[in-house]
């Protein structure tokens, strides 16, 4: 029964979601929105599980004074301060929570995002080494696209932007669409496996 009931629910809900795509009439037509709302509510409540896990793991780490326990103290301190300021004084502009959010969280998040620029440079350096024919093609097309996208490229030769546009619109779009078709078929196939109970990863495997 531990397996059969979730499988039956998956089958029924899966089929209902397929049917609602073709039937606009209420109550079938608005089931998608209704189920999505339920999912949002469930996911929102589930955050308690995540936070509980975080407190347990880092609490244990501090208790056992494991390597790097200082970071755990900082994490739990940050969590506590944000919860207290948020619940205690609200999150509107002018509050402590708002200040901490904009002056600690946002800059740190932006810093992580900004690292991407450096990682792109290091990854590109490795990718563009012409070790074989495919890598050579990648290098040539990348150089052409880069020259077509910067003012200097246009100043050197007016056709660089035209070539860059062609590479992006024709071979790039064709490749992307081929991948998208494969993905769409994969999604249909996986969904069918889930509905038929062949795929059971969402239930914790076999």
């Amino acid at each position: 029964m531990r397996r059969q009931i979730p499988l039956a629910i998956t089958l029924v809900v899966g089929l209902v979601m397929v049917v609602q795509y073709f039937v606009p009439h209420k109550p079938v037509g608005n089931l998608y929105d209704l189920f999505n709302t339920w999912a949002i509510v469930i996911f929102a409540f589930a955050i308690v599980l995540g936070v509980g896990n975080l407190i347990k793991i880092h609490g244990d780490r501090i208790y056992r004074l494991e390597r790097g326990w200082g970071y755990s103290v900082l994490l739990l301190l940050g969590l506590t301060v944000m919860i207290i300021t948020g619940i205690g004084w609200g999150i509107e502009p002018g509050t402590s929570f708002f200040y901490l959010y904009w002056h600690l969280y946002v800059p740190m998040s932006s810093t992580m995002f900004a690292l991407l620029a450096f990682f792109i440079a290091s990854a590109s350096y490795r990718a563009f080494r012409a070790r074989n024919f495919e890598a050579f093609l990648l290098l040539i097309s990348a150089v052409l696209v880069m020259l077509g996208r910067v003012p200097m490229g246009k100043a050197l030769w007016g056709q660089f932007p035209v070539i860059a546009d062609w590479i992006m619109k024709v071979p790039n779009t064709a490749g992307q669409r081929a991948i998208m078709i494969g993905i769409a078929l994969g999604v249909v196939s996986t969904s069918l496996r889930i509905i038929l109970g062949i795929e059971r990863a969402h239930l914790g495997g076999e």
């Binding site: 795509y21 998208m180 494969g182 078929l185 990863a201 495997g205």
Partner: protein, 400 residues
């Protein structure tokens, strides 16, 4: 020539009295702005106003179509707007519900109550004068039980599903099904083996989306296979997640895998742990774990966004063997560049079947291939027909 233009023309041929009267009128009311008001002839009204229940919808909508006024774009060419009027009785009162610019020939009224009869008029304005169409016939909106615009999707889905079910039944009957080799999946054993030899951890990152994304489910299927290997080899596994529901499900998956491989004692809840729901907070957390733990093998299987390269480059810097898989086309180049193996799009969804060699799952992949063959045929045929100027075929594949 429009009726308005003809009437204007006739007005100018009335002899000498009219110009004299006009001259006196001008002298009496000499003002540039007043000159515009002299256009007292209304534009010709819109014709053939038709109202009907909007098809293939959930009700609450009536569509109106009409033919443009002959003074819209042609004739006097001074139409500025169409005004849609609605009433619940033919004799009125009619209330304005919206105003549309010149050139409009269609309007969808989405403010109707199902089952209530409505009458519509379409007025046309030239900025000064207005003329109205006769009222439309009575019409009421209602919900439909089938969206015929999606009939092609139903047929396509049915054919594809039939193909998948057929191959599943063949696989169940014991037929040998050929699946091409996927290098990234063949390397799973090698990656876990390497971690075992080096005495280091295996990291599994199941993407940053929740369990409502099919990529996450596909990723968790692979996690089950990886966890079986780590349990058999006695290698440490760590699964940092950024969604609470994924954490709970991944725990069940890993627990089941350890149980299946006969090492339930090696499992503990700390293998799968939550970091944060925040995208870059999660990336920072995983990067920190990588730099501290220096795992020998890292799996990225699921849905990723901008954090993909941040994670993969950090993994590269610690010398881990990396196997990625995602159906996010924009992130694939990053993984291909930074990882040793990448499962591209559909390979991610085929991975669990490929690794488990479960006949029914393999059958579904063969069915998927059949769908691909049909699509390739349709694409080829469409290209030929479009090149020959036959456009009807491609219209069969439009959806709403």
């Amino acid at each position: 020539m429009s009726e308005k233009l003809r009437r204007k023309g006739r007005g100018c041929r009335k002899g000498g009295l009219i110009p004299l009267a006009a001259f006196i009128f001008f002298l009496f009311l000499w003002d540039g702005a007043w000159a515009e008001d002299l256009d007292t002839l209304p534009p010709s009204p819109p014709r053939e106003v038709t109202a009907f229940d909007t098809p293939n919808d959930a009700g609450g909508s009536i569509t109106l179509t009409w033919r443009k006024s002959t003074d819209d774009g042609t004739g006097a060419g001074d139409v500025t707007a169409y005004i849609i009027l609605r009433a619940e009785r033919k004799e009125g009162p009619y209330k304005e519900i919206t105003k549309l610019p010149a050139g409009a020939v269609r309007y969808e009224d989405t403010t109707t109550k199902d089952g209530v009869d409505y009458f519509y008029k379409v007025s046309v304005s030239d900025g000064v004068n207005i003329s109205e169409s006769p009222p439309s016939q009575a019409v009421h909106s209602k919900a439909q039980w089938f969206n015929f615009k999606r009939l092609n999707m139903l047929l396509a889905g049915f054919i594809l599903s039939l193909g998948i079910v057929y191959f599943i039944s063949r696989a169940r009957a014991g037929k040998e099904l050929y699946i091409r080799k996927i290098a990234g999946l063949d390397a799973v054993n090698e990656a876990v083996g390497r971690a075992t030899e080096m005495g280091r951890k295996v990291f599994f990152i199941p993407g940053i989306l929740d369990l409502d994304d099919v990529q996450t489910i596909a990723g968790l299927s692979i996690l089950g296979q990886v966890a079986k290997l780590t349990a058999e080899y006695g290698t440490k596994l760590e699964v940092p997640v950024c969604r609470s529901v994924v954490m709970v499900t991944a725990r069940e998956t890993v627990k089941e895998a350890y149980l299946d491989s006969g090492h339930p004692d090696a499992y503990n809840d700390e293998i799968v742990h939550y970091l944060t729901d925040d995208q870059f907070g999660y990336a920072a957390g995983v990067d920190g774990l990588m730099l501290r733990e220096k795992p020998a093998a890292i799996f990225y299987q699921g849905a990723f966004y901008a954090e993909s390269l941040i994670l993969a480059e950090t993994g590269f810097s610690v010398g881990a063997i990396q196997i990625a898989g995602t159906a996010m086309p924009s992130q694939l180049p990053f993984f291909i560049t930074a990882c040793d193996y990448t499962l591209i799009g559909e390979e991610l969804f085929a991975a669990s079947a490929y690794l488990s060699r479960e006949p029914r799952a393999l059958g579904s992949i063969k069915g998927q291939d059949l769908g691909k063959a049909i699509i390739l045929f349709i694409l080829g045929l469409g290209v030929v027909l479009e090149t020959l100027g036959i456009t009807g075929f491609s219209q069969l594949f439009t959806t709403q």
